[in-house]
């Protein structure tokens, strides 16, 4: 069976730097898997996610999505099925509804079914945002609410792979627990494939994620966690 994602001999260095962040890094992700990537600050965890959705360009190696090299897929098409949520959630200065429906204003998602207000309300509730209304300004939400809204928005375009970059790093304990719970549910109930970068020791109750540590310019599977 073709893996959902396959990274082969990936090498990367920041522009103007000779030091490699990744040196022939390899990893395979099957559909439905829940991957946690841990590692110290500066190890390149965020960069790895950005390389998968082509927000950065590698120096060597290849990344295959459903067997196709990602460089052969139109960037907008790739990013409509491989959705990346940044560490600091970004909102436009508009209502919650306008922010949530933003993906549908882009040509690549124009033909996808738009969720109605009822569906959005139901989703808000599932994302612990029942007190948020669709017509309120997204800019006035707390960072924890914005983070959940950003994950929800990414899911609305129904990606096949969700990349979450330190989704709890800026959140308090309560908000972080909500995000962890959402991630767990997305994998167990909705069968979403997730790659989450985190420095927090996250141990879900209903699922055992494959945990990798990013060290020495490569990914290492933590056998002890399984």
């Amino acid at each position: 069976m073709t893996p959902l994602l396959e990274i082969r001999n990936l090498s990367f260095a920041y522009e103007g730097s000779a030091a490699l962040v990744f040196d022939r890094l390899n990893v395979t992700v099957q559909e439905g898997e829940f991957i946690l990537v841990k590692g110290p600050s500066g190890a390149g965890k965020s960069t790895l996610l950005r390389l998968i959705c082509r927000l950065n360009k590698p120096q060597g190696g290849s990344i295959l999505f459903q067997g196709s090299d990602i460089t052969s897929i139109a960037p907008a098409k790739l990013r409509s099925v491989v959705s990346y949520v940044a560490q600091i959630p970004q909102m436009i200065d508009a209502t919650v509804e306008e922010n949530l429906l933003m993906p549908f204003s882009f040509a690549i998602n124009a033909a996808k079914p738009r969720p109605g207000k009822e569906e959005l309300h139901e989703m808000l509730r599932k994302f612990y945002l029942a007190d948020v209304t669709l017509d309120q300004s997204a800019m006035k939400l707390s960072i924890g609410q914005k983070q959940r809204l950003a994950i929800m928005r990414a899911l609305l375009q129904e990606p096949l792979l969700l990349l979450l970059d330190e989704p709890t790093s800026a959140l308090d304990q309560e908000s972080a627990s909500m995000v962890f719970s959402i991630m767990e549910r997305l994998n167990t109930d909705d069968r979403k494939t997730l790659i989450t970068v985190t420095h927090i020791d996250f141990k879900p109750e209903t699922v055992t994620p494959l945990t990798y540590t990013l060290a020495h310019r490569s990914l290492h599977l933590n056998e002890s966690d399984h």
Partner: protein
């Protein structure tokens, strides 16, 4: 019409009293502008006298190659002035900007002298050089403003652009607001000039024609053509340059290439 009154060398030097006022202001209030005022004054004299002699020679010889060479020098000089103001190191914007400027200014100057004024040949220096000069001078400032705005906003809003890219936007959709703001920032001075012309100020070209003895009713027709030409050429060159340069802000994977300075 009255014969134009020549300005003698002595009278020209008398006008330097205005520079003395500027120098005194800078000196008294420690503005630190004395050196720039001096250099600016010397350059004004040198560049305009040089231009005067060149134009006299070109008008006498009336050679199309010479006319287009002067035009080319003006566009190259404008490009260097833009490069000095924009100071962008990461994105290679100079060649697309220069080529777009050359094509759009040439097209505008040919349209105005050949079709609107209807002069034959279209490169007749008495019309083509001033028309080209006004288009280049006006649009150069607009392009510098637009380019500065484009690069600044792309850097400041990088995370927002990347958020849109991550949600399936192509590079055009992700940077649409930045593109619009950059183009309109460059165009606003030309549009404002249309609002104030004839009320707040009398433009240089019209003043010059009236001083040279032209009927004001003819001078205003030329000035209207000039105002419309400036707005149109500024819009066209700004949009075209922004389209080309914006693409260069993104890599082959439509990733944002600009990094914070």
């Amino acid at each position: 019409m009255n014969q134009i009154i020549d300005i003698s060398t002595g009278q020209l030097l008398l006008a330097l009293v205005f520079i003395l006022i500027a120098q005194a202001s800078s000196f008294i209030y420690h503005l630190g502008l004395n050196r720039d005022i001096t250099i600016g004054t010397i350059r004004t004299f040198a560049q305009l006298f040089l231009m005067g002699y060149v134009l006299t020679f070109i008008l006498k010889t009336s050679n199309s190659f010479l006319v287009l060479s002067v035009f080319m020098v003006m566009v190259v000089s404008a490009m260097f002035i833009i490069k000095g103001r924009v100071k962008e190191k990461q994105i290679p914007y100079i060649i697309p900007t220069f080529l777009t400027m050359l094509v759009s200014y040439l097209a505008t100057a040919i349209f105005v002298s050949g079709l609107v004024v209807g002069i034959t040949p279209w490169w007749e220096p008495r019309y083509f050089i001033p028309a080209g000069g006004m288009v280049i001078g006006n649009s150069m400032s607009a392009l510098a403003i637009s380019l500065e705005r484009l690069f600044r906003d792309m850097r400041q809003q990088k995370e927002l652009v990347e958020m849109k890219l991550s949600l399936g936007a192509n590079y055009r959709e992700a940077s649409l607001d930045i593109f619009r703001n950059a183009v309109s920032a460059g165009m606003i001075p030309s549009i404002n000039a249309m609002m104030g012309v004839g009320l707040v100020f009398i433009p240089g070209m019209m003043s010059g024609q009236i001083l040279a003895g032209t009927d004001p009713l003819i001078a205003i027709r030329y000035q209207i053509v000039v105002m419309l030409m400036l707005v149109g050429s500024t819009a066209f060159s700004s949009v075209a340059v922004m389209l080309f340069v914006r693409r260069r802000c993104f890599g082959s994977g439509e990733e944002v290439l600009l990094t914070p300075l």
